[in-house]
Amino acid sequence: MIGVNGMRTMAELEARLLTRDAALTPVALADELLDLCEQILCHWLSHKQVVPTEAKVEGFRLLALHRQGCKGEPSFNACRESCRELAYYYNLLHLEPEHPQITSRMAMARAVAMHLCLFVGGKFEVPELGDDCCSSQALRAGAA
């Protein structure tokens, strides 16, 4: 996947998510994960020839991008909860950076971001991912 409008490629985004940068504060990590995940969804939208929105839903561009990605592609709802979980952890890391479980929360945020990356990466490889289960549509519906 080639970078779009100066964005990192999907491979670069996955590589960055695999990096464990111990110097990052909880707030910095939250900001970076949100940015990386927005880029991931922008890749998907660009692939679908849709201009990624700058709008926000519930204060998050990530959720607006996800909503955009679902239009005409209900299987993309398979990553709805991952997007919402990331927003949840973003808030936790910002609001309680000194929380006793901050290390665990940072790890959870990374895991959720990684799952979003793997799912969208999987959709590039197998466009029908999520069709049968998450949208209850036939795989290869056009051929049915």
Binding site: S104, L118, F119, L129, C133, S135, L139
Partner: protein, 308 residues
């Protein structure tokens, strides 16, 4: 105990007679122990799963409608319980489609007539999952009162998979406020296993994609997704991932093995059906719960924890 769901029609589906046999055994054993009655749907057929749906979604709807029709016509109950997420999802889907899409009712009527049995009308039968069944008929207090072997000390991550909550429009009873199940953060399994004494870890990938239908056709995608599910459970501190679907369960087990053999990445978290965990807490033997049938063998861990 609530009389609601005390006796339900039981639709095991194909997986519970094959790879998910431990789920079948443990569901029946737990029901018996709790004084709940399961009456298997006579002469049931495939729900259409994904195989038929991918050829013709309306034929798949007919197959699921036939099962509901048998319950409506031949069994003296108004509720069918399906432990498999795929079956549960397909029964809920046909209920939704018959109510909302005239074409579906037309096809179901035509094929039912051709096959020589009564057709199914929306609303005749309520479809529930095994989680609804135990949660509503027994509840957390009922579980607590019956515990013989607390799951205390066992850290559990609950994985619900996708077909229990998605797409949201076929589950109108969910997201109805306090007490109802949530499609965003489902909690029924958490509630029941916590009542049995387990320590439920905060698991952020409860409904995240495992690759599902592509688990065989595109194994690498599935293995990567499952590996992240397993590694995240371990980061959460879980000893066990509890499942409530035979397809999810098999996928987690299979790709745990594949991640190790193909990619050299070993994870140690074990998978158990929630009914197996509940059964242990209720004092049912591991053999009766089919623990020996799981690919992911948790018996050593359970012995260490004093649960076997």
């Amino acid at each position: 105990m609530s009389e609601k769901y005390k006796t339900v029609a039981y639709y095991p589906g194909c997986a519970l007679e094959g790879t998910g046999h431990g789920y079948n055994r443990s569901t029946k054993a737990v029901g018996k122990k709790l004084g709940l009655n399961l009456v298997e749907v006579p002469n049931w057929n495939c729900c259409g799963a994904m195989e038929v749906k991918n050829i013709d979604p309306e034929i798949q709807n007919y197959l699921s409608a036939r099962n509901l029709g048998i319950v409506a016509e031949k069994m003296n109950v108004d509720t069918v319980m399906a432990p498999c997420n795929g079956c549960y999802h397909n029964l809920k889907k046909v209920e939704h489609d018959i109510a909302k899409k005239p074409k579906t009712q037309e096809v179901v009527d035509r094929l039912s007539q051709k096959a020589g049995h009564a057709t199914y009308q929306a609303g005749q039968v309520e479809t529930i999952h095994a989680l609804d069944w135990i949660k509503d008929a027994i509840g957390e207090d009922g579980i607590r009162a019956r515990i013989k072997n607390s799951l205390k000390g066992l850290k559990v991550a609950n994985y619900y998979g996708c077909m229990y909550t998605r797409p949201r429009n076929i589950f109108p009873e969910k997201d109805q406020g306090p007490g109802s199940e949530s499609t965003y953060k489902p909690h029924y399994m958490d509630d029941l296993l916590a009542a049995a004494g387990a320590e439920i870890v905060d698991y952020p990938l409860k409904t995240a994609c495992c690759g599902g239908a592509h688990t065989l056709a595109d194994s690498d995608t599935s293995t990567k997704l499952v590996l992240n599910l397993l590694q995240t459970a371990e980061v959460c501190g879980a000893d066990i991932i509890a499942t409530e679907c035979p397809t999810c369960h098999s996928g987690l087990e299979m790709h745990q093995v594949r991640a190790e053999t193909e990619h050299g990445i070993k994870t140690n978290v074990k998978m158990l059906y929630f009914t197996q965990l509940l059964g242990l807490a209720l004092g049912i033997s591991g053999r009766k719960l089919g623990l020996q049938e799981n690919v992911s063998d948790a018996r050593g861990l359970l012995k260490e924890k004093g649960l076997l």
